[in-house]
């Protein structure tokens, strides 16, 4: 059982001025990267099954948002959800076991990459349906409000998802009921092959907030501290009953959409430009420069993360395969006649 160090919100209000917060944010991003690189490798070697959507290059948005959350806050995630799941604190061994179709996986091998949820860290689940998690987040936020709980709910989704009716209906409900929900759009410029230029006529996804009368903001999604600042403001607004915010994080996925992508719709130059804006390297440079950490710290952390992932793979691989004999269980939750 391994997971990242719980994310630490900086006292200073900036991830770039607080050593332990900076280290925990860096650990989160490195872990996401490492986890997904490992998964990519396992897939290439034929050890993993199905399809996979990697968020390599997008680690700052998952991390920057989750640093601003309490452990009792909820998230809903997407098909590209490993990062959200890890940043919220999920057990890496159970995640890996799920991808390896093991009985000890988060979903007992039934869900795979697109359906991991984690009750403990209040991750209400990745989702194979584009925009499917957004109304669900609104409902969870409604429950917080009705029960006078002080939790917020973050819904992650992509740029492509904002063209779905579910996005529209959900944002409207969140807005009219002043719910403690934060809509986080990870705008990586494409919904599969469809660029935002082709799929919408607004300059920024955050422009869509005005249709619901809620706050909308666009941040550099490869700058974990900028994402964090926006998240803090949104969380505060949500917790104080002032309703939702739409945060757009401009970012990029380095890998193809999924395993079947031939990358015909974008150029090598574009990909390289974005690789030059690697959120991890950028953050490392800043915190090195600000002398919060030394190169030795960074190297040690990177090694530790790699070791953790290796351990997760080892433990997960050793677990029993998921068991067809119990397939009829948990189709329905049992009714208690108590």
């Amino acid at each position: 059982m391994v997971s990242i160090t719980p994310l630490i919100s900086p006292e200073s209000g900036s991830l770039e001025l607080d050593r332990s917060a900076a280290l925990s944010a860096l650990e989160s991003m490195l872990t996401i990267r490492s986890f997904e690189e490992a998964v990519d490798g396992l897939f290439a070697r034929g050890l993993m099954h199905g399809t996979m959507h990697l968020s390599i290059g997008q680690e700052a948005s998952a991390t920057g948002i989750c640093v601003a959350l309490k452990t009792t806050d909820y998230i809903t995630s997407t098909h590209r959800g490993h990062g959200h799941c890890i940043a919220k604190g999920a057990d890496l061994t159970r995640m890996m076991a799920e991808l390896l179709a093991k009985q000890t996986g988060y979903c007992r091998g039934r869900g795979g990459s697109m359906h991991i949820a984690d009750t403990k860290t209040r991750n209400l689940g990745a989702n194979g349906i584009v925009a499917g998690g957004i109304p669900i987040a609104v409902g969870a936020a409604l429950a917080q409000k009705m029960r006078n709980e002080n939790n917020v709910v973050v819904s992650f989704f992509g740029d492509g998802a904002t063209n779905e009716g579910a996005f529209h209906e959900a944002l409207n409900l969140g807005a009219i009921w002043d719910l403690p929900v934060i809509f986080v759009c990870e705008n990586n410029k494409y919904g599969m092959s469809n660029s935002t230029e082709l799929s919408m006529r607004v300059d920024k996804v955050s422009d869509r907030a005005s249709a619901y009368g809620i706050a909308g903001v666009t941040v550099d999604g490869n700058d974990v501290n900028e994402v964090y600042q926006a998240a803090v403001a949104a969380v505060q607004r949500a917790r104080s009953g002032k309703g939702p915010t739409l945060i757009e994080c401009e970012t990029y996925r380095w890998k193809g959409h999924s395993k079947s992508d031939k990358n015909l719709y974008r150029t090598k130059e574009e990909i390289d430009q974005w690789k030059a804006k690697d959120p991890i390297i950028r953050f490392q440079e800043i915190i090195l420069q600000n002398q919060l950490v030394t190169q030795t710290d960074v190297d040690a952390l990177a090694n530790q993360v790699r070791e953790t992932i290796r351990e997760a793979i080892k433990d997960a691989s050793a677990a029993p395969d998921s068991d067809p004999a119990e397939l009829l269980s948990s189709v329905y939750r049992e009714v208690y006649n108590g």
Partner: protein, 329 residues
């Protein structure tokens, strides 16, 4: 007070009120359920009794509100969604089918969705093709959903209370024409178990299996058939998924003749499943005549009263079907 008589709408409303009184997690959301009292008047005064928070009027956003119910249920609330006409579940199928129905299984049992979705179903009000469908087949086919069709006020209350207790998503399809019908309903909260068929009446000559408003039409038909000397058993499955075949099988063993009556179009409808279960045995061995289905025509529901009547089984059609079945083979 077991013989107190109230309407089907009142029974639904009473179930909701009792569940809301007993558990603060229960709440209702839907279009025009507040001050309007619901398109069919079902929520009635609940808004005044429980307030706007718990009897929550929504914009016209079926997908959004079912999704919100799913989300609320995932974190422990007990939402009851009213979809104004069951036809508009079409707008919300993703949340019903891809989310609510699958989450528990798909997440390996990690979370569950104790949500109730109620919707008025069926034809007979002159509202035409987009407001008159009987869509139970869709839901019954989806693993992870439970589907109930209460056919009388007592079951409307008992099944709804059981649905609200149930930790799974339950689709409750109420027939519009039943809302104003009356019957005895116990005052105290009681549960009619989900997954148990009801033996409506016994008769030695044939078995009628009917759902929704077809149950009362079958009763009326059976009354008239009796005068012709034909005695019918009537079974109301009540729950379409999970389906209880035991009563049906026993009754067929006794009489050897069975007629399946539904309002929905015949082709690939729910009663096809009942027929298939019969054809798979054991009931097959007791058949004295082929299974007979009396169903809606395979057409959209038309507007004109005479057309609308012709499109779905009426009492006369059930009688004619039974008489024909008795003459076979």
């Amino acid at each position: 007070m077991a013989n107190r008589v109230i309407t089907y709408s009142e029974a639904v409303r009473e179930a909701i009120a009792q569940a809301m009184e007993a558990d603060s997690n229960v709440f209702m959301l839907g279009e025009d359920i507040g001050i309007y009292g619901g398109a069919f008047g079902v929520s009635g005064d609940l808004y005044h009794r429980f307030g706007a928070e718990r009897i929550r009027d929504t914009p016209i956003s079926e997908l959004g509100i079912v999704g919100a119910a799913v989300g609320a249920a995932l974190v422990g609330m007990r939402p009851i969604v009213e979809i104004q006409f069951s036809d508009f579940t079409s707008q919300a199928m993703d949340q019903i089918v891809n989310q609510a129905a699958k989450i528990h299984f798909m997440l390996g049992g990690e979370l569950s969705v104790p949500m109730v979705l109620r919707a008025p179903s069926g034809s007979g009000t002159g509202a035409a093709a987009q407001h008159s469908q009987s869509l139970e087949t869709w839901f019954a086919h989806i693993p992870g959903l439970k589907v109930v069709l209460p056919s009388n006020p007592r079951d409307a209350k008992g099944l709804l209370l059981a649905a609200i207790d149930d930790p799974n998503p339950v689709i409750v399809l109420e027939h519009k024409l039943l809302y104003k019908t009356s019957g005895p309903v116990p005052e105290e909260p009681f549960r009619t178990p989900i997954g148990v068929a009801d033996l409506v009446r016994e008769g030695k000559d044939l078995v009628i299996v009917a759902t929704g408003v077809m149950v009362s039409r079958s009763i009326a038909a059976a009354d008239q058939l009796k005068e012709q000397g034909i005695k019918a058993t009537i079974i109301d499955p009540r729950t379409l998924s999970p389906l209880d075949m035991s009563l049906i099988n026993d009754a067929i063993a006794a009489s050897g003749r069975v007629m399946l009556v539904q309002e929905a179009p015949k082709h690939v409808g729910f009663m096809a499943e009942v027929a298939a279960r019969i054809a798979e045995g054991p009931a097959l061995y007791s058949l004295l005549a082929p299974v007979k289905r009396i169903c809606g025509m395979d057409i959209p529901i038309p507007y004109a009263p005479q057309l609308e009547k012709a499109a779905v089984p009426q009492i006369e059609d059930i009688i004619a079907g039974a008489v024909a079945l008795m003459r076979e083979p």
